[in-house]
Symmetry: C2
Amino acid sequence: MSTDLKTRPTPSEGGTDTRRRIVDIAEQLLLERGYAGFSYRDIADAVGIRKASIHHHFAAKEDLGAAIVERARERLLDTRGPVGDTAEEIQRQFDRYLRFFEKIAAQGDKLCLGGRLSADLAVLPEAVRDPFRHFTADHSAWLAALFEAGQRLGVFKRDVASADQALMLGAAVQGAVQVSRSRGDVEYFRRIARQLRQQFLLTP
Amino acid sequence: MSTDLKTRPTPSEGGTDTRRRIVDIAEQLLLERGYAGFSYRDIADAVGIRKASIHHHFAAKEDLGAAIVERARERLLDTRGPVGDTAEEIQRQFDRYLRFFEKIAAQGDKLCLGGRLSADLAVLPEAVRDPFRHFTADHSAWLAALFEAGQRLGVFKRDVASADQALMLGAAVQGAVQVSRSRGDVEYFRRIARQLRQQFLLTP
DNA sequence: TGACTCCTACCTATCAGTAGGTAGGTTAAT
DNA sequence: ATTAACCTACCTACTGATAGGTAGGAGTCA
């Protein structure tokens, strides 16, 4: 069969196993230490190949950086999915959103991609900055749509424009993950999340 | 006189001029690019001395990093000052706090020290992490005191514990600076700040 | 079937550049 | 004479990147 056990990974269509592992590990390192804080050597050691072999998959570091961001963007798109059209769905998506960041905060060593790269912005090559802009655009478009629908369906309060609520949630959650990590306790994230629910939800 | 023009800077008591300039520039670079994103060479070029001369003032990079944080902490202490004991003073301090971060956001290229170092935490030597913990402790203690007094004096709402309000404000403001910088427009910060006033102030 | 070519996925060895850091000398004010 | 404040010259370690080679699978054709 084509799926032998010890053979070299089949070239086949799209993404070798090694390639995927490189991106996996590089993503972890990026979220933990930042773009300037990890090297091809770190990745090579973790994956178990030589430094030069990474260049076979990603000619330059910025190509690897771009691949991480693009993959995260795809994941964002089909994890978040289209905004629901009932109050229950909106409420569930809002909860899921908060729980997603709570999970990151609970791990204790990483930041979310948005917070990470917005902090690293000044040291990011254009080739990474570019897909990151798309990531950010998708993310905030989704949030804006969620709050627009949520206000219309009576899930969220209407004292503030939905676009402003969306902006605030994104920023607060990003800051909360960082605060939580630097204090070494998820509880800080939870206390902020609780306030955000109370602030936005009509029935918290 | 002691302030000749072209002579070597007088050793005098505490902090040479060059030493201060090194810390000044290093601080700017730190806030812009992060701890792993600037080098002794960058500083030397900007100050107009040789790389090795920086080592005369700061033996290791972590000493320089620690000096930046400690100085920022002192500045925090006497910029913020003790929390007032009238409603007017509290209100004024709250406004000043928000305007302080708005100024950073308006510059467009830097983050606040708290946000910066909490993002860099994983690449920070212990010698820098340590004064940063003190900085963070001072900062959040001041905020907690502000909200405690502010609730008592009828400046802030009482629907949420004052400690939680303080935590939320710190995180939100930190996230807002980052979001604002990565979108390249202070207006994003202002929209968040407006919401924070509305959220916490009894009479916004 | 075997020979030939081409491919992917690695390897070793090395590059120039830069990081932080050190040794030791010079200058000049106290 | 001492000492602070620089300098030149250098070091080691590591960065991302390149050159050139090898092993082995896949496709083609006599």
